[in-house]
């Protein structure tokens, strides 16, 4: 980490924004895709979340 300190200091903006936005976009998109495809491909699957605890 300390080896790359200079580079991180120079490029903190693209690193920070790309990391945060990409993580948010990935989570939102994957959850929505999974929810929608579950509805398409399963007729009897429960839509509401419930755990097996």
């Amino acid at each position: 980490m300390m080896t790359h300190f200079g580079r991180i200091a120079d490029e903190w903006l693209p690193i920070t924004f790309a990391l945060l936005l990409s993580t948010v976009i990935t989570m939102v998109a994957t959850a929505l895709i999974m929810q929608q495809t579950s509805r398409w491909f399963t007729k009897s699957a429960p839509a509401q979340g419930h755990s097996d605890e």
């Binding site: 580079r7 490029e11 693209p14 936005l21 993580t23 976009i25 959850a31 399963t42 429960p46 419930h50």
Partner: protein
Amino acid sequence: MNNPALRDIWVYLSATPLFGLTITLVAYGLAYRFYLKTNSSPLANPVVTSVAMLIAVLLVSGISYNDYFAGGQFVHFLLGPATVALAVPLYQQFSRLRQLWLPVLISLICGVGIAAGSSVLLARLLGGSLEIQMSLAPKSATAPVAMGISEKIGGLPSLTAVLVVITGITGAILGTKLFEWIGVKDDTAKGIAMGVAAHGIGTARAFQVSNRMGAFSGLAMALSAFATALMVPWMVDWIQALL
């Protein structure tokens, strides 16, 4: 440290590998109690607070990371069996998995593609160098896999390791709130999204929500590491050729 008994314990522990093990367990125990006291707020994620405590202890005491890890490695060793043990809750969800294998597969491929593609494109858009873009590309995969991919595609593996941890922490903190905002209530969908985007740290958070979310997050974490290794080297070449 005025108490002689405490000082004796400190002197004894700091000279043995037990020190690393003890402070790791104590830090996690305290972090978990703090997490429960905050009504399980994702902002008080016990992984984040225990790591912060450990860094503070090492900085204040002047103990090197290598000396700490002589004891910390016992916990590190348990990471292997713990990962294998993720198969148990997944087995308990096997009937649901059989029903949902196609949605899981589609979401996984899309999720891995979006994670790598969006990070490279956003970094490029904001003026990041090629090395930074390549270091960010595998950030949603688990650390050992991500570091290997980063090295292969021209990134900086040690920087990727840091980005992987920050990604996991971000996902674990924001995940449940994000799912609430977008109206996703199905624990299976939430688990898959958490595992794809935030690997092991996200999976630990998912188990705090429910067994089903944790089981599917663990599955997504393992499969997305495999998919990332297959897809990302090809994807980044394709993006570079296209832009």
